[in-house]
């Protein structure tokens, strides 16, 4: 089991070297006493994520989830894949807040890409079903980039819906 996993990691890293044209950095691997290996990789160019997904898809891989987070120069996005029991975390940087969708290659990315679009306002290019997932249409995209206190949220400051309803009840007059 352990040997098979080690071999698979070597195969995957070698194939990424061929297909990821702008290159990548194998930052580190975490080994545990049970024979598991967690691999952490950084891409030099965000445009290579589709190639990474294709390599993993070829070996029966799937997307576990995707973690976006805000950094000074834009967004860091960590893609977590499972390939035959190995967890590979592939991180990229997007400065303009857009990234190619990998849902056409790995369907398991579908919801998590849409969630990323809702909560962080990251533009997912080429998603087959880019509709809202978590947030209602009345709320602004990218709510996770803002800090909103619970009291603001509870008084309805997060949306216009409450005031629209009050105004409607008053006969549509703003006061």
């Amino acid at each position: 089991m352990t040997i098979a996993k080690k071999e698979m990691v070597s195969v995957l890293l070698a194939q990424l070297k061929i297909y990821v044209t702008s290159g990548y950095e194998h930052r580190f691997s975490h080994f545990d006493h049970l024979g598991n290996e967690d691999v952490y990789i950084s891409l030099h160019d965000k445009g290579d994520i589709g190639k990474v997904a294709s390599v993993f898809q070829h070996h029966g891989g799937r997307v576990i989830t995707i973690t976006p987070y805000v950094v000074d120069s834009g967004y860091q996005i960590a893609y977590h894949f499972d390939v035959t029991g190995i967890v590979l975390t592939v991180t990229l940087l997007t400065e303009d807040g857009s990234v190619d969708s990998i849902t056409p290659i790995l369907k398991s990315a579908d919801w998590t890409e849409r969630e990323m679009q809702d909560l962080f306002d990251i533009k997912i290019i080429g998603h087959p079903n880019p509709d809202r997932l978590i947030l209602d249409e009345s709320m602004a995209q990218g709510i996770f980039k803002e800090y909103m206190t619970l009291s603001d949220a509870m008084t309805g400051a997060a949306t216009n819906t409450l005031w629209e309803r009050i105004n409607e009840a008053k006969g549509g007059h703003d006061e």
Binding site: N36, I64, T89, K107, L135
Partner: protein, 361 residues
Amino acid sequence: MSETYRVPVGPIHIALEEPVYFKVKVHGESVEDVDILSGFVHRGMEALVLRRNFLQNMIITERTCSLCSNNHPFTYIMAVEKIAGVRIPPRAEYLRVIADEVKRAASHLFNVSMLAHLVGFHSLMTQTMETREVLQDVKESIWGNRMDLGANTIGGVKYDLDKEQIRYLIKQLNLIKKPIRELTNIYSNNRIVRARTEGVGLLPKEDAVRLGVVGPTARGSGVNNDIRAIYPYVVYDKLNFEVILEDGCDVRARALVRLREVFQAIDLVEQCLRGLPDGPVTTPGLPRIPEGEGVARTEAPRGELFFYVKSNGTDKPERMKWRVPTYLNWEALKVMMPGNKIADISVIFNSIDPCISCTER
């Protein structure tokens, strides 16, 4: 008869325990397509955990949902322990499995009892819930709570078992073996249950692989995504168990996987009690969490639960993300539902053992 209608189910609906919105397209009595909208119980937990320290987050993560509550802190803590380079004492590893498998058995019994309720077999539902009640008593007696066990902590576990508690646990597990055998027989062979579950909500194996579904939803279609086997953690590598697979690909197959896993969970608890080593249940003191990142995953009752934690060396995480099993299983409903009757919608929905609070965090 030949007209097509759109039937809204939810966000608040009598057949749903939690809010979610299905837009079901029906042709006559048959479902043609389904669209799913979520976000009604989104609580912004991923933002909240960044404002709490690593210890406080053990408490918050346990409250993501109730049925698989133990797996959330369990997995989160394993990710933190990887960053801190902590290896927990052997006794704590066994105790973590015991708490988790008791929760799994209770969760699976809850799901199959809901199946009995939805097919209108109410005496079967009450029988299943009565059997599950023994496990609820076990949880309350040992961990002091029926749902949130608070069993795990960074560096080990918060509870220990003395001889009397071990005797009690073995006795209670023996007590439910016969009823569960009888219940499994009814779920497998009863004419009414079979009529409502066999061939209903089909998820072919290739679709299960394509969608990346997890847990009993995958194993009911013959796909082995059991994290305990493919990515062992704590002492699962030392325990003797086989991944339970069914190839029916329908509601019945998924229910049978869960019922067989109840027996498996009891067996795993018994193996742990037999092999329970002596020693401490935690590492001494609390570790400092250095800068770094870690991933961890466990097999929750509904399937793979994944945590990613990124630390910048302070007492609070820089980023935390978790992906619950139901999150990946939703899309499978779009494969399972078409071609079935309207009356089967809730039965199929229940067959992925959905947890909406988990999904939305």
